[in-house]
């Protein structure tokens, strides 16, 4: 990559290396969002509907974990997956799989905490009606998750925003290997420190554009489906 290319030229020319970086970033972050939703949504709903001693402590801890530093998650996953770590035998350190694991851990608390709040608010509205219909705990959870689906989209977006923007965790467990585990954020960090500002800026612009596009699409979907369902 040489200096005479401007950021725009790289994008407009469809630079192959740049597109591979974009593709990997999206694949990792979207996979992490999907996995985190599978874990975080039911967990948030369960926490919203349960009453047990120490629940408030758990809610506070969960909310606090939304601010988990990516480098700390990266370090923890690194220790787990490194050759001498408990899961070292799997040999997945410095692979996209490791990056997905780290980002999933990073955003599960975000999705779970936001889902908990959303479901709890909806539950106060639905409580009498669902109790009168004799809906059991599992039915309550699925009903509330489904009926809160548009609000829960915001939780997914928050999770995606966090995953797409973080650099610490993917840098540590992915290693920023060219053509293999290099994402937009790690590439921006690397190219900036190398002084290759055009590529760094190009990647930065693409990153911002993608986050904007995904949020706009989600907003549009939500507005449209709310018109359909009320």
């Amino acid at each position: 990559m040489s200096d005479q290319f401007s950021a725009w030229q790289l994008i407009l020319n469809g630079d192959a290396a740049l597109f591979e970086i974009v593709r990997l970033s999206l694949a990792v972050s979207l996979s992490a969002v999907a996995l985190a939703a599978l874990v975080g949504m039911p967990f948030g709903a369960l926490l919203a509907l349960s009453r047990f001693p120490g629940r408030s402590v758990l809610v506070v801890v969960l909310n606090a974990l939304m601010g988990l530093p990516p480098v700390v998650v990266g370090l923890a996953v690194y220790l787990l997956l490194s050759r001498s770590g408990p899961l070292g035998a799997m040999g997945i350190l410095f692979t996209p799989t490791a990056m997905i694991i780290a980002q999933t851990i990073l955003i599960v608390p975000i999705i779970a905490a936001l889902a908990r709040q959303t479901i709890e608010d909806l539950w106060t509205e639905y409580r009498d009606e669902l109790t009168a219909m004799d809906i059991g705990p599992a039915g309550r959870m699925t009903t509330l998750l489904w009926d809160a689906r548009f609000s829960l989209l915001t939780a997914l977006l928050a999770g995606f925003g966090r995953a797409a923007a973080e650099v610490g965790a993917v840098m540590i467990v992915g290693g920023n290997i060219d053509g293999f585990t290099r994402t937009m954020t790690t590439a921006v960090a690397l190219e900036t420190s190398k002084g290759n500002l055009p590529l760094a800026m190009g990647l930065g612009l693409v990153l911002v554009a993608i986050v904007l596009a995904i949020n706009a699409a989600a907003w549009g979907t939500r507005a449209w489906s709310e018109r359909q369902v009320g």
């Binding site: 509205e125 219909m133 004799d134 009926d147």
Partner: protein, 240 residues
């Protein structure tokens, strides 16, 4: 589906319900028998809604005993309640009814036909695919009735279902309620609209400040109230 044993008669025996230091229901003893609609009448704050919630099993007495068909622990499989402001699920009208059918154990193969029949019964067949939350207040109340009837109830409890409705919507709700009563469903309904009580009631329970003041056939209640409170209420005086 196994036919569950009957919830009637519904008997309250010395039931008191307190919230904090406030007594909402005060040593209430009454019996609800099968037959014509029972209307619960009384000023706001007299405990009508709480009494209905207690009959449904949504509230538990602080003291005293509630028995349904002689049992204290009957599951709410054959009871349904209509709240003053029913909550519409964020789905279509038809899906709201289908939800109640699924919950009450209607086999999947029969649901579509039952949904159509129930929406027809409450006059919402044309609005089946409309999002429930975008229906008008009267339509929502009728949809909530369809949802309650989907549970094939033996007792239908209604908490001032027409309090926020205009006369036309009130009439269609009352017609559905009367049809339900004629099909053998026991109606227990709270109301403070005396005209409505005249139109619907078989017997009347008059409540003041959480206590049962008078209970008798509707005609007797209107023509020969035995307590000064009931007489004052019927005259249109303010009973507090």
């Amino acid at each position: 589906m196994r036919a569950p044993s009957s919830d009637l008669p519904l008997v309250l025996d010395g039931v008191t319900l307190q919230a904090g230091t406030t007594t909402i229901l005060d040593q209430l003893s009454l019996t609800i028998m099968p037959g014509a609609p029972t209307l619960i009448v009384g000023p706001n704050g007299s405990g009508k809604s709480t009494l209905l919630r207690l009959c449904m099993g949504l509230a538990a007495p602080s003291a005293g005993r509630v028995t349904r068909g002689g049992r204290t622990d009957s599951k709410p499989v054959r009871r349904a309640i209509l709240f003053q402001r029913p909550v519409m699920l964020r789905r279509t009208a038809a899906a709201n009814v289908a939800y109640a059918l699924a919950q009450s154990g209607t086999p999947r193969s029969q649901r579509a036909a039952r949904v159509s029949a129930l929406l027809e019964r409450v006059g919402l067949a044309d609005l089946a695919l409309r999002p429930a939350r975008r229906l008008s207040g009267g339509e929502q109340q009728r949809l909530a009735l369809a949802r309650a009837l989907a549970r094939d109830p033996e007792i239908l409890l209604l908490d001032e279902p027409t309090a926020n409705l205009d006369p036309a919507a009130t009439r269609s709700v009352e017609q559905i309620v009367l049809m339900a009563a004629q099909s053998g469903i026991k109606i227990v309904m709270a109301s403070h609209d005396l005209g409505q009580v005249r139109r619907l009631a078989g017997d009347v329970m008059f409540m003041v400040r959480g206590a049962l003041c008078e209970h008798g056939a509707a005609a007797n209640f209107f023509d020969h109230p035995t307590t000064p409170e009931a007489a004052a209420f019927l005259r249109g005086d303010l009973v507090i």
